[in-house]
Symmetry: C2
Subunit: 366 residues, 2 copies
């Protein structure tokens, strides 16, 4: 398993990742402190690790200033694998009434992707931002910016850059001399993103919902916060929703059109993909399935229901049991999921329209 | 003689520099094409080298769009050694009626100088800008910006960065892994400064008056302009006004208070410094001087008159001859220069006040 900052491949062993990145495992007592109601995936154990979540919660519980930060690298259109992270950020905003900052690293994608113009990246970024905001962030308490449109961020990035040597950045980002100097600088920009709430509002506890594969960047930032008398940001890591084939969902994978459900997919595309490509934990034949039962733990459709699309715990439990017993067939499970996803995406498309009309309420620009 | 981008030391052999940097020597026919009246130092042969000045002049002569670009790294307060460069830029603005762009690299100084805050650098930059503008740039045709206050420049720097590998930047700037990532990125920022007139006004001929020690940066930029379909910027290099001791004037030298006349020096400081420290081409005693004569070519006071402070060619010629013959003593020459400098600095202080009141006419800010 190779986990670098730029790519994640292969099946994922979360216990191994906790060990590898040196993060803290989520505990029942800590999860128990989270305000209710919890999103499906937290309730069902998919918030598997953190750093200093307890400190952030302590600040929240004692009425101190707290904020949330979660970013987006606009490499491509968004898919359902991205939903957990933003759902998580939105949960904290709703539950704790705090501001959410969402920096969008158009510059990073511009530096890293060959042959892409600034305009290309901005188009993707714009579309991504609408997807993220359509998840229901509070327009009065959410600030989104793109580095190329809120260029004031450069000054903060420079302040961070002063304390980050090329060696440090290289150790975390694996920089190579043949890569452009945008790559060299970007680690400072990313740290500035993470520190941005504190640059804007002074030292306080910030919680960063993030993919654990991005943890090396966070650690780099945590090593620098002392320079600014800031508080080390806390982090929470949700699991990765699997791709249709069962591996980590990746929008940049070559086979993404058969492994990923895009937020922009229409009903037909969703039906076809789930039917054709969603890895099944069922048996080879209906007869065998009825007799032996299926395995929901490796069934991608079931995972999608469990970690996002099925709100009803009882119903989920029931489906799990009948799948195991063989009374629920893969085909039936898939049709149920298809209806759930399509209903969600229909609502999403509607919310996108609302957000697009009010985009300036969220955006920080020069 | 070590000439890197970051430091210039020792006496300077201009012919050697032309060879070293691969620039073109100034020719009589080219200098003859420059519109009159010429500043003292051009008339007296101190514009010693260039790249593609002929192309810029051809564009100017055929009525095409032309601009001037000259920057400032705000490392310290300014001294009379800086006057030639800005006098040169102003000459081109006056003679050819074109716009002058003056980017001020507060970010570079912030990255490079240990222990300096952004505020420290901005204070110096602000003061430098007033000094530069006090030389008489046209408020209707001059645009000045600091990277930290006109952060939109970041987007252009990023566009350049995409085409500049760390290896390329390292080859020009001598980057080291233990230096911060601001240094790594700054070469792209500096190239963006040089291309800025073309980013703003489209491809056209830009002339860059610059110290020849900065030529490696310019060459790096010239190698990148094709990527943007821009025209390679032309350059002109004035000689360096010597320090009081005869070496290159440096505001960062440890002994700068005895080798440099600051633009902010008062009359007393100027008198004391010239009397005490200005290297003399005169003889050891008055008797010897009267008998053998002095050497104006190595006399710092004479150089100051020749390259900047004495407008009257006849008078200068007369002084040169009487110094050589011994009828003009070092002390007399120095008193004459002191009066000239103090008169200039008095006018400069007055012009600074005017500029300060109207600073927003020149400044490009977010």
């Amino acid at each position: 398993m190779a986990v670098t900052a730029w790519e994640v491949e292969g099946d994922i062993d979360y216990a191994k990742m906790i060990k590898q990145f040196g993060t803290q495992p989520m505990t029942e007592s800590l999860a128990g402190r989270l305000k209710k109601p919890l999103p499906n995936f937290i309730r069902r154990g998919a918030l598997f690790s953190h750093r200093d979540l307890d400190k952030w919660l302590a600040a929240a519980e004692s009425g101190k200033k707290i904020t949330i930060l979660t970013g987006r690298g606009p490499s491509n259109k968004m898919h359902i694998g991205h939903l957990l992270l933003y759902e998580l950020a939105k949960y904290f905003q709703d539950a704790y009434g705090c501001r959410v900052y969402i920096p969008v690293s158009d510059d990073e994608k511009f530096f890293v992707k060959e042959g892409l113009s600034v305009e290309d990246v901005e188009k993707v970024a714009h579309d991504n931002i609408i997807d993220i905001l359509a998840m229901g962030f509070d327009p009065k308490n959410t600030l989104v910016f793109m580095d190329f449109k809120y260029t004031k961020i450069y000054r903060h990035a420079a302040e961070v850059a002063k304390h980050m040597t090329y060696s440090m950045a290289k150790a975390t980002f694996g920089l190579k001399p043949e890569q452009n100097v945008g790559w060299s600088f970007y680690p400072a920009m990313q740290s500035a993103h993470v520190m941005f709430p504190q640059f804007m509002e002074g030292a306080h506890n910030v919680l960063v919902p993030i993919g654990i594969d991005q943890d090396p960047f966070l650690r780099l930032t945590r090593d620098l916060t002392d320079r600014f008398k800031f508080i080390k940001p806390s982090t929470v890591y949700p699991i990765f929703l699997p791709s249709l084939s069962g591996s980590k969902m990746s929008s940049s994978a070559k086979d993404s059109d058969t492994t990923v459900i895009w937020l922009a997919d229409d009903e037909k595309a969703v039906s076809q993909k789930i039917r054709k490509y969603a890895f099944s934990g069922g048996r080879a034949s209906i007869e065998e399935h009825r007799k032996m039962g299926g395995n929901p733990d490796i069934d991608v459709s079931f995972q999608y229901l469990k970690y996002f699309f099925e709100d009803d715990d009882k119903k989920l439990k029931g489906m799990e049991e009948s799948y195991k017993s063989g009374s629920l067939l893969t085909g039936e499970l898939k049709e149920y999921l298809i209806a759930k996803i399509n209903s969600y995406l229909k609502g999403h498309a509607k919310r996108r329209q609302d957000v697009e009309r009010n985009l300036d309420k969220y955006m920080l620009e020069d």
